[in-house]
Structures are given as structure tokens and as C-alpha cells.
């Protein structure tokens, strides 16, 4: 059972990493416009004009 001493802190660290990532993305404004993010993925203005679909 000594493996638990490694595994549990590891699980916590991974969970904590998720929490930190969430707080970071919230702070950088990524949750400010959820609907916009959903539709922006469809826009093609990041492509060069010749690659765009009409």
C-alpha cells in the first residue's frame, strides 16, 4: 500500500493543475464570450484569401 503515498499526491497535483488552468483561462477572459467562441471557429478570416471558400 506504500504506492498510495505516491499516487494520491500525484492525483491531487493533476487535479490542482486543472484548477490552475481553469483559473488562468478565466482570468485571461476566455469565458467572457462563450457564444462568440462557438461561432468564431467557423470564420475563415485567418486563411489567406485564395484558400477561402466562397
Amino acid at each position: 500500500m506504500t504506492i498510495l503515498v505516491v499516487l494520491i499526491p500525484l492525483a491531487l497535483a493533476l487535479g490542482g493543475l486543472g484548477l490552475v488552468a481553469f483559473l488562468w483561462s478565466m482570468r485571461s477572459g476566455q469565458f467572457d464570450d462563450l457564444e462568440g467562441a462557438a461561432v468564431r471557429v467557423l470564420s475563415d478570416d485567418d486563411l489567406a484569401p485564395r484558400d477561402r471558400r466562397p
Partner: protein, 733 residues
Amino acid sequence: MTASVDLSSFVRYHDDGSARLDLAVDGVDCAACIGDIEGALGRLPGLARARLNYTNRRLTVEWTRGALDPASIVERLSGIGYRAYPFAANEVEDAETRQARWLLKCLAVAGFAAMNVMLLSVSVWAGNASDITPETRDFFHWMSALIVLPAAAFAGQPFFMSAARALRARSLNMDVPISLGIFLALVMSVVETARHAEHAYFDSAVMLMFFLLIGRYCDLAMRRKTLSFAANLAALRAPMATRLDEAGAAVAIPAATLRAGDIVLVRPGERAPADGEVVEGRSEVDESLITGETMRRTAEAGSPIYAGSLNFDGALRVRVRAAAGASLLDEIERLIDVAISQKARYQRLADRAARFYAPVVHVTALATAVGWLLVGASAHDAIVTAIAVLIITCPCALALAVPAVQVVAAGALFRSGVLINAGDAIERLAEVDTVVFDKTGTLTLPEPSVVNAASIDPAVARMAARLALASHHPLARAVAAAVGGQTAVEGAREIPGQGVLADIDGVEARLGGAAFCDLGDAFEAARSRDPESSAIGFRHGDTTAVFLVRQAPRPDAAAVVAAARRRGLAVAILSGDRPDAVAAVAGALGVDDWHGGMKPADKIAFLEALKARGHRALMVGDGLNDAPALAAAHVSISPISGSEVAQAAADAVFLGDRLAPALDALTISHKARAIMRQNLWLAVIYNLIAVPLAITGHVTPLIAAAAMSGSSILVTLNALRARAPGWSEGSTP
């Protein structure tokens, strides 16, 4: 004359020399709009950044100070077909945004803790049933404590702070038993862990917080959505004023930035942007938005004019008066203050439940401890059982029962075009038994419209509409709106105070007054048939027509009044207009209980009399004169076309030309309250099952977790039923 536009009051400058402007944008309804707008602005020289927030339809633009004129941004947007209006961030919305971020942070922490503690707890539950060693179990419990104690200290703040506020005000709300439950669960778990016990309740405490924070966040998110939508509408509607500077040059500025003493120009067809006094010009003004009176009044040098008055004939120069000196608004505001102070604070359903629930639970827990002591249990066992009672009764389902329904119902209202201002409006709407309507602008459309369109040859009406589009006169605008979809005639000339004329197919066409169109007899005939309306004539060679324009009822006013009757609601009309004008509308709608010539104080007196007879009234009104009545009524709703003061005093605002949303609001609220009650009963039933188990000492953390999450999910699913559509008889927009 095109005035230059000055938006500098909305621009915010940062220390690094950059300037920033927020705009509310109208007409954004597809993904392509984002590309259109950001693309078009991207080509504007000097602009550093343009980003459209699709969720709240707001555009943020940044540029280096002095690099461009903010008005050119608005111009560019209107060039590609989007109306934009500068947006001043408001205090309430900023506060809600900060609150939402904080709640989301708490929610994230609670979620993190709940996931990790469950990992440990499930192992303990499984181990207790099989062969876990006491040492491993203690290790798992201490690990849980390590996660939960700091997490609860952080994520529990919304509950602890609210409970502290309630206690300081010597009252009880739902957060008091919640906070107590969380606190006792944690203390008992730490003590039990130190005693190497089998059970610890760390997971219950953190799961409870997680569920409740989800409910709270959803509630706030819904409120923010409504708030930002309402703020956008307000910004887009906010009037521009034409200020004349010393040299007489006209500059368009937002009306909100006018100062006392400014001279503004009010052209025919415009509304006065502020209260003031006419210094030059003579015209007829329509004050129906202020007093409900539909008869026009003559304004000339020296006469007062109120914000929102519609100017009909001639250009007026108005000196803006200091807000404090506006006698009418002062009187209205005094009445609103009195109405608000006299209104008893409404006891929300959830608060009433909490007030009843908290003492019962605490007494039950105490009785459990005493009971176990009397039958000879040890002090430790008695206290542990009593705390288990508190934990299992910790009102997870009860605390979600009402807010969950509120979120769903507010969403349903939003979809049917009703924006809620007050949090408890849904509960109050559900209790209504009388509907009191204002007439002008509420039962009737806010803008006058043509009433005899059916009797005019469509070809002639189309021609008249094309000519009418060339004029700003309110009567001409009504003629244009009656046909719609036409393009203005080219080369039209407007003769102030008389009408417009232009050549159509080589023949001169005229639209205007009786003498201008040489239609004296026809006007007389029309006026004798319908004395309430204003006439505007049209002549094209020998073809003539007389359009009768007056305030027409909203398209579904009769249907809504009839539907309200069918549901057993009493209907009354209170208007500031002349009694005979009110009688006509009341007769057409079949309402017997109507009162004309009512002053704001009379309207309040009428509502007070209703209240004294035990009725709960919904007041629907739009005018400045309705505002005190809106504040005094049990619950109130105002159309979006109404005056700002009225909307601020009302509990809800509805959109569009139809009256049906007002009735939809009643239907949805009614249903929502029924579901709230059901949910409260579900929570009671849950307690009736869980509490005896807890009292007899049969509750383990596993049972507590299953019972709490089960009951929370049950009430949440039940709340989703509040989403059903509202009044269906022709109410689809």
C-alpha cells in the same frame, strides 16, 4: 444640415496613451456579422483593436489617442448596416460581473475539492465494506481534511457572508442552516478522524457547496444576461441631442451629456432630449409619453417642454433646464419615493420557507441529542447523531428548490420578450388577480398610425408612402409606415409647416395639410367622422386621398384583454388622457372599468383602493405619469417604448409591438410558482424520509451523499418543467 457627432464623453483613456470605446451594436445575429464588423473596422486607419463580444453584442475598440475620431467608427458601422451606440459601463453590471467571476472561482475550487475527496471517500466506503486497515482509512481521512478545509474556507465564503449578513440583521435566511451544516460537518469530521472513527463527512460538506454554487452561479448568469440585454437596448435607444454652440453650429451629442443652459435644436419629428424651456420657434408637441394626453399642445417661446415630447411642426430651440428644477419630474419622483417607502417588503417564498425550516431542523437536532442521552447513549454518540441530523437536513434541495425554477422561468420569460428587473417579480406576478392598463402607449401603440388604410386604393397609398419617406413629420412617418417597403421619391421638397411635394410620373404630387393639397372639404368630412384623429392629405393630379392618423390600439390589445378576462382576471384602464378619448378605447376593448383624466396621484389612490379590497394588481404602463403607479402596484411591467423613468420603476420590461408578453409573463410565473411549491414539498418529503434515518443513527456518509445529490437532481429536473411555452393564442412573435 448634417451635424458633426461628438462621442468624446464615452471614450476612456489609459495611461499608455491608448483610447478605448465600448459600443452596443444592433443587428448582430449570425457568425458572419463578427467577420463583417471586425473586418470593416480593421481597415480603418489608426485602429489598434476591434473585438466583438457575440454573447452580449458589444464591440470594444482601441486606438492610440488622437489617431482617429471615434465618430468615424460609428459611421463605418452604419455604412455596413449596423447601428452602434457608445456604451457607458454601468455600476450594477460591473458589480455583477465581478460577483460572477468570484462565484465561478469558488465553484472551480469546490469542484476540484469534491472530485478529489470523492476519490478518497469512495475508497473508504468500499474499504469499510471489505478489508481496509484503520491506518489507511485514517490516512485517507486526513488527506480529505487537507483538501476540504482550505477549499471550504474559500468556496464557502458566499454562504458564510450571506449568513453573517442575515444574522446581523437579526433574521434567518437559507444560508444560515447551510453554513451551520457545513461548519458542523467539518468540525465533527476532524474530531472523528482524530478518534480513528469509521465515518467522516468531508465529502458531504464539499459536495453540498458544489451543488449550491452551481445553482447560485446559474441564477447570477441569467440575471446578468437579462441585465446586459436591457442595457444594450437602453444604449441603442438613448437619444442624441443636437446642441448649438455659441457660433450656432450644430453638434450631435448623446443626450445624457447635456448640461443645464445648453441650447438644443429639436427638429420636426424629433423628441425633446431634455426638459427645458422653448427660446425660439413655434410648434405643436405631442406629450403623450409624459402625461398620456393625446391632444397636442402648442409650444412657443417661453413655454416649458419635457423630455420625450414629440415635436410635430416647426423647429424649436430649447434651453435645457437643470434637472433639479424640473417641477414635473420632481413631483413624479417624490410620488415614486412615497410609493416605494409605503410598499411592504415582499416576503419571498424561499425566505418564508427558511424562516419556518431552520428552527424546526435545529430543534429536531437538539431533541435527537437529548433523546439519545435519555436512553443512555454516551455524550459522544448523542452529539454525533445530532450532527448527522443537521448534515442530512442541510437544505441542499430546499436551497435549490426556488432558485432553480427562477433561472428556468427567467429564461422562458426572456425568450417571450420579457426582461425581469426585480428578483422576486416572478413570485409576485404569479399572485396577480387584477390587471390595470394605462391607455396611451400601452394599450395603444406609442407612435400614431394610419387608421383608414383599408379604404384607400393601395396604388395611391404606395405613392403617398414614397413621398412621405422624404419627410420627418410624424404624420408623414405614419403614412410611410402604413405601407412599408417603399423607396423615397427623388427630388422631394419639404415646405416647413405645410407638406412635401415632388414629381411622380411627370405629375406633381403633394402630401400635407388641407390648404396645401387643396382638400378642405375632404378634411372637414373626415374630421366630422372621426374627431379624434389628425388628417393628412395626398394629391397627385386628380387622384386624392385623406389619411386619418391617430393612436391605434396594439394589434393584439383586444385579444389580450379578452384572454385576461377568460382567465378570471379583472381588467381596468387608468389614463391621463381626456375621458372621451379613453371611453373610445375602453369601448373597443370591452372594458367597463375605465377612468380618464387621472393624475399620477389618482392612479396610486386607485391602486391603494384595490389593495385595500384584497386585490393584487399588475400595472402595465409606459408614461412618465405612470411611474409612481408602477412603483406602487403589487407588480408592474412597462413596454420597452416607454419612458426611462417608467422602466426604472417597473418590475419588468417587455419588448415589441404586441401586448401578449405581458400576459405570457403571468402564465410563466404562475407555472413557475406552482413548480417552486412542488419543489419545496419534494424537499419536505425527502426530509421526512431522511430525518428518521438520521435520528435513529442509521445515516452513514454514503447514504448522506446519495440522498443529498439525489434530492438536488430531482428538484433541478423538476425545475426544468418551467420552460414550457407561454400563452399560445397568437402570441408567437
